[in-house]
Chain length 234, copies 2
């Protein structure tokens, strides 16, 4: 079980993929909020590329549900609905427990080291109170599990699911616990290290259900206070 490309060397990639990855990261660390407009011009000057590259990047992001393209109006960071959230968590609960179990059975030393290092980085970020980094690393843990499984397809699928989860949390997250709970990743890693596939699977499922339970679909969407801020006297 070789870990192929833990570091995706940003250099050897075509430009639009770089743009896509940067936007993915921004969404994952909740720098880009749902409904944020991503105009072509913005992307062109932000990344120093032509309009063609920008449009290709936006099309790719749209095909993965990260942005929404409205005709003649531009691209906006997706704003998932409750039903979108249900789909995403349902899909993750179908995939991740089974995948985590497989990883527990077949992981090698290099994969184990990658996961351990990641947990260390998570702890460091948490200790440093670097919220954005904590959120991003929390999400990427799940992608990393797929990566160490060696399955490129599932890695891409999970990257998409995790990113959409980040948008869902941005929309419906209930306040402070807007990222994964403290030690759940560590406990999953322990189960993997002990080759306990059943426990790893259970922990993964519970972890996802915890994230889901921390959502609150009753409150009005978090990203509508634009209206409020516009109504303020200034």
């Amino acid at each position: 079980m070789a870990v192929q490309q833990l570091k995706e060397s940003d250099a050897s990639l075509n430009e639009e993929q770089k743009i896509v990855n940067r936007i993915y990261s921004a969404v994952m660390q909740q720098t880009l909020a749902p409904m944020t407009k991503l105009s072509e011009a913005t992307i062109c000057e932000s990344f120093g590329v032509g309009r063609m590259k920008a449009r290709r990047a936006l099309l790719l992001l749209a095909s993965q549900g990260i942005v929404e393209l409205r005709s003649n109006r531009g691209a906006f960071v997706a704003s998932p609905t409750k039903s979108d959230a249900d789909e995403v968590f349902e899909a993750r609960i179908h995939i991740e427990p089974s995948l985590t179990a497989q990883v527990a059975e077949r992981i090698g030393t290099s994969g184990l080291k990658a996961l351990t290092d990641h947990i260390d980085r998570e702890k460091a970020a948490r200790h440093a109170d670097n919220r954005q980094e904590v959120i991003r690393l929390s999400g990427e843990f799940h992608v990393l599990v797929a990566t160490v499984s060696g399955n490129g397809f599932l890695t891409r699928t999970l990257r998409e699911l995790v990113t959409r989860t980040s948008l869902i949390v941005a929309m419906f997250g209930s306040g402070k616990s807007s990222c994964c709970r403290e030690d759940e990743h560590e406990r999953i890693l322990e189960a993997i290290r002990e080759r306990d596939a059943g426990r790893a699977s259970d922990l993964a499922r519970e972890h996802l259900e915890h994230i889901r339970m921390d959502l609150d679909f009753k409150k009005t969407h978090k990203t509508e206070p634009d209206l409020v801020s516009l109504l303020r006297s200034d």
Copy 2:
């Protein structure tokens, strides 16, 4: 569990999505063989669209691994390797048994009717010896299971997986049994109808493993006789 859009009304779709769907279908019924070149010009005149739409469609197809874009050389129908095949079947075995079990638990009457009708169409096509239709419907059964689950994300994911499986079978299929076995879909449907989630899950897994076992990775790729045909005297 409402079945939302069993018929994707080809009319109300933007043009590039129509192109993508047509190519999907062609791959599914093995009209388009791996490594087939899809030049921009071909698509432009085939669908009567501008080069821009053609390029967008090809980019979408590439992002889903159906075609491969080579710089300055054009788009080619993907030719999966053995390792690609392993990834696809691994992913399907992670997803489909669990998904089928869920469908067995939660399916409603409309979903049951959709699946039953589909099986009927499969039988009719088989009886009529319409090979292309049999292959296409066999693949789409798996997509339909995802559709009746009501999960749009998994539906898209399975459409991609099934299409790639079709390419894999085109590359490595061992002769005659190049499509799903006769009655396995029917047995899965029976388990679903009886709400036997465990059996449905098992049957789905076995079915996938049967498809996988019918592959033969030893033989030279099916789509290299281009070399042979070039060597013929003519």
